[in-house]
Amino acid sequence: MPEQLVDSRIRHNQSSESGCEIVATLINRERRDPRQFQSIVPSSFNNLDMCTRALRVETTVRAPINSPEVTVIAWVNGNAPDLNPLPTGENSTLKGNLQNGTVAQQTACALQGGRWILGVASNISTGADAAYANAWLLTNSANTAPPSTITPLLS
């Protein structure tokens, strides 16, 4: 089954259908032309500059097959317990490059992010560095939480 657009970043692929449930995969990747789903997921990540080259991320969702309507909401939760506080043990160069205070710090931060975008794992030497960088990026790419009530745009 072809992937179907949920919003500009999240796509849905119904991967199988058993007797009692629909198994679908949410795929977060690049922009595509809209098809039949309307936007429910928060429309974009906050730090657009950092997230324009999205790596494919998938999650599997299971729902009863007799549900009249299934709404799946996915967002990057900056308040997740494993991000607060950030992991420790990172090297000082990495930490220094990921500050957001002065314009010089912001410039260094952008350059650090730019290196990562190009696949250069600069200043990532240990597992602790990697854990810190991953958590930092997640925290700074978080979405706002979705509303508690969803009103479908199309019936």
């Binding site: 324009t52 010089a104 952008a110 350059l111 696949g119 030497s125 240990t126 597992g127 960088a133 958590a135």
Partner: protein, 258 residues
């Protein structure tokens, strides 16, 4: 989530805190080559192969270069092939063409380096005016901000990452860019290729730049074993920051992008 795994190459593996990160461990180079061969690879795998000098991967890199339609993937592979010593002009020409676009661009700083400004966060007034004049959105995906902050500096970085001395003229032109991100990347690139003759040019760039930008440009000088370069580091970079950078050099980080 997205960029994080791309950047660090963890790919779901649980790294021990003190053990080498995936991309930092040369034992993972065969895995990177296997990923490249499978076609399911990320830029970090290409980078690992290039840094390891894994010339046995050259045929696979060439194959993936031909297969890919993504300009960034093609440029990254081209950069790796040149670094690995491939002499096919196709790859060098691609990198040089893209880097020339970057150094010839008149795109201003996205960040606001005006010391009188309330915030350094962009877009700067010059940048907004430039975007308007070029009928481009100032911010967001596909905007001029992408080019100013990442796109154009990235083109110079891919050129400088080759370590090829042919990059020096273009990197030096980058030192004259009106965009300090491009300027800083050019300085780092010159440090990457160890061009000692560019030290005075980098110092001149520091003198011309606003203090906040000079700091970033001057960090490239940490990687030169040269009294004039080190003196300039002390002039433009804070003591604490210089100490951190020098410690990383002492621990084996010999170039900015290693």
């Amino acid at each position: 989530m997205l960029l994080a795994s791309l950047a660090t190459g963890t790919y779901g593996k649980q790294n021990q805190a003190n053990s080498p990160a995936y991309a930092a461990d040369k034992a993972n180079v065969p895995d990177a080559i296997a990923k490249l061969k499978s076609g399911k690879f990320a830029l970090v795998h290409v980078d690992m192969i290039a840094k390891a000098g894994a010339v046995e991967a050259v045929p696979i890199l060439k194959e993936q270069f031909a297969n890919s339609q993504d300009p960034l993937v093609k440029a990254k592979i081209a950069s790796a092939l040149v670094r690995l010593g491939d002499r096919d002009d196709t790859y060098w020409d691609l990198l040089a063409k893209e880097a020339t676009r970057a150094v010839e661009s008149d795109i201003p700083d996205f960040m606001n380096f005006d010391p009188e400004a309330k915030t350094g966060a962009g877009p700067s007034p010059e940048f907004v005016a430039w975007s308007k004049a070029h009928n481009m959105p100032p911010n967001g995906p596909g905007s001029a901000a992408q080019d100013a902050m990442y796109g154009f500096p990235g083109k110079l970085m891919l050129l400088g990452s080759t370590g090829d001395p042919r990059a020096i003229p273009l990197l030096r032109r980058g030192l004259l860019s009106p965009n300090h991100q491009i300027e800083t990347t050019a300085a780092m690139g010159l440090a990457e290729v160890h061009d000692r003759d560019s030290i005075p040019l980098i110092i001149e760039a520091c003198k011309r730049a606003p203090a906040a930008a000079a700091l970033g440009i001057a960090e490239s000088l940490v990687y030169f074993d040269d009294a004039e370069a080190q003196s300039a580091v002390d002039t433009y970079v804070s003591k604490e920051r210089a100490k951190i950078l020098r410690e990383s050099v002492a621990q084996g980080k010999k170039t900015p992008w290693s």
